[in-house]
Point group: C2
Chain length 359, copies 2
């Protein structure tokens, strides 16, 4: 039995002004008519032994989550509300604890023991869903053999914005993990790309509840304890699962640091399926379909002599005239006009606007 755990707590500031704290990028229809959150669930359809998902999200977004689940006809096992974001380790730990306790879960979703968690951020894009499901099935086999599995994205370019995983020995449909590596510099990343043993650390995981619980207890006991207690004290409030106040006591840490880099049971399954974390406007440009001028134009757009441009919604007509490599994001309360390749500076822009407002 595979229980998807959908991590929906991200704030997505790098896709400002379309992505806002009130409606971050996982809840936007960026690459299809469905939102990234909805696509994350829909691409699981066809997996064997698939159970209802657990969604972990910020309390602020609970109605967005409930409505977007309703739109695609998905009934969650639980919509778990984090009273505050504490990074991925507590979010996953609490999901595992709820499954262990069968507390705070809808009555018809009580998991069998030996349940496998498929942990997925809600804001990733995967073009080839079939290839992804094959990788998941391999990862489930490894998890059933007691391994904590991470998906390693087969690199397409010398990216310096991600951590890397050096794979170890092949063990059938998965590999051991030689080591986890922090974001490299450009030259190192080029070496990794050429070498072939290095994969991007994707933030997607598969492990059994039992294995995760054991390794969390061993390597991150404070997180483990807080998650256990918060899950035990959880209350079902209509459609939502509200955690006990013990959650606040958990240290804030990523599952990578807290568990994956510590455990000797890590394994990696390679994934070559058009993955993107859509972490910037430039990244979004890479995954969208283009027209014959290499433009990706949404909404009511007319272009004349424009190329390599991205235009996103807005309520108005947009006209592009002779521009190249420009990103235009026409959001409700702000308009962004950006040269492609500059998207790492969006956070600076947001700071500039904030400081201007407080003048």
């Amino acid at each position: 039995m595979i229980i998807p755990v959908i991590l929906s707590g991200g704030s997505g500031t790098r896709l400002w002004p379309l992505s806002t704290p009130e409606k971050p990028k996982q809840f936007l229809p960026l690459v299809s008519r469905h939102t990234l959150f909805q696509e994350t669930l829909k691409r699981l359809e066809g997996l064997p032994a698939l159970s209802a998902p657990i969604v972990v999200c910020n309390e602020l977004h609970r109605f967005l989550v409930a409505e977007q689940l309703r739109e695609i006809g998905t009934k969650a096992a639980a919509i778990v509300l984090e009273p505050e974001g504490r990074n991925t380790a507590p979010a996953i730990g609490v999901a595992a604890a709820l499954v262990m306790a069968s507390e705070g879960m809808a009555a018809n979703s009580k998991p069998a023991s030996g349940a496998i968690l498929l942990v997925l951020p809600a804001d990733h894009v995967i073009a080839d869903a079939a290839a992804f499901r094959v990788a998941v099935e391999n990862a489930v086999k490894a998890a059933e053999a007691g391994r904590l599995v991470t998906f390693g994205i087969v690199p397409t370019h010398p990216e310096t914005g991600y951590g890397y995983i050096e794979r170890g020995a092949e063990e059938g449909a998965w590999w051991g993990v030689e080591r986890f590596i922090e974001k490299p510099d450009r030259g190192t990343a080029e070496g990794y790309l050429a070498n072939g043993r290095f994969l991007w650390n994707s933030g997607m995981f598969v492990f059994s509840v039992a294995a995760l619980e054991a390794e969390l207890e061993r390597h991150a006991p404070a997180i483990h304890r807080a998650c256990k207690e918060a899950a035990a004290a959880a209350k079902i409030d209509a459609d939502f699962t509200r955690l006990g106040p013990e959650f606040h006591a958990s240290p804030s840490d990523s599952i990578d640091y807290a568990v994956m880099e510590q455990t000797d049971r890590a394994a990696v399954v390679p994934l070559d399926a058009g993955w993107s974390d859509v972490g910037s406007w430039d990244a979004l440009c890479e995954v969208l379909e283009r027209d014959t001028d290499d433009n990706a134009l949404r909404g009511d757009v007319v272009s004349l002599g424009a190329s390599n441009c991205l235009v996103l919604p807005g309520m108005r007509k947009v006209a592009l005239l002779g521009v190249d490599n420009v990103v235009v994001v026409d959001a409700d309360d702000a308009l962004l006009v950006m040269q492609r390749g500059q998207s790492q500076r969006v956070k600076e822009l947001i700071r500039l606007f904030r400081s201007e407002r407080s003048d």
Copy 2:
């Protein structure tokens, strides 16, 4: 006595989407807090013997004109409503006929005979108003000597979008006109710039009512007759002067073709005062003040690494990130993002939008 005749009938499509048929560019505050129409009147302040202006406009814009006059405290001698645009010759002819007849004019504005008309399009920019007024005074002297005067702009670059005037013999504060020249090709324009005897044809004129009437009757009798009759049948309707239906009988022609290029009484006064007809977004970029990054940014704009850009109003925040030489016009119903240097293609864009709408 100098009577300004302000030609306000232009439709200004090349500044789409800010300039629209409902509110064309002369009624927009493009270069200051006043509109181009208001600036056209305000730069006359200080001229001796200045009379109340006659404004000739499209019926559609009558309340815009009345309100913008009210805002700057100017009382017009007449706001003449054209039932349809018939180019500049009938617009000027009708103003002259109204002055001759003292018909359709406010009672306190009856002109003396020998009145001089100062004909100004409402949508030009002139940076140096004092230099302009000196040129006007010289032109008035020529007009008082019976000449029909055009202002010749001292060229600053080899422009191919304007007609040129080759000046003739010097006659004191003005020059004779050797010939009028259609828009030249690039090489010819470069020759004109180097030569020094060639000036841009500005579309601004000074002549006495009597001289204009005589030359119009001689060279464009059908226009002259229609204007006479339309003025004689004019009715004052509250604040507006409504022309008789005879106006429709006038041929449509420019004052340049109908009179200036025909008469042997033409003279030219050079004008070197930062003139622009603001005929395109690129032209507007040239006349606006820039910040240290050579950006001209209006409204709530934050820029980071942007240069040589123009941003115009809109109700929202605008963020520029790393773009160079881009024009952003955030109008109510459409957004334009344009590479500088492409503004001659705006009319094509408008056609594209229209054909899309009719699909």
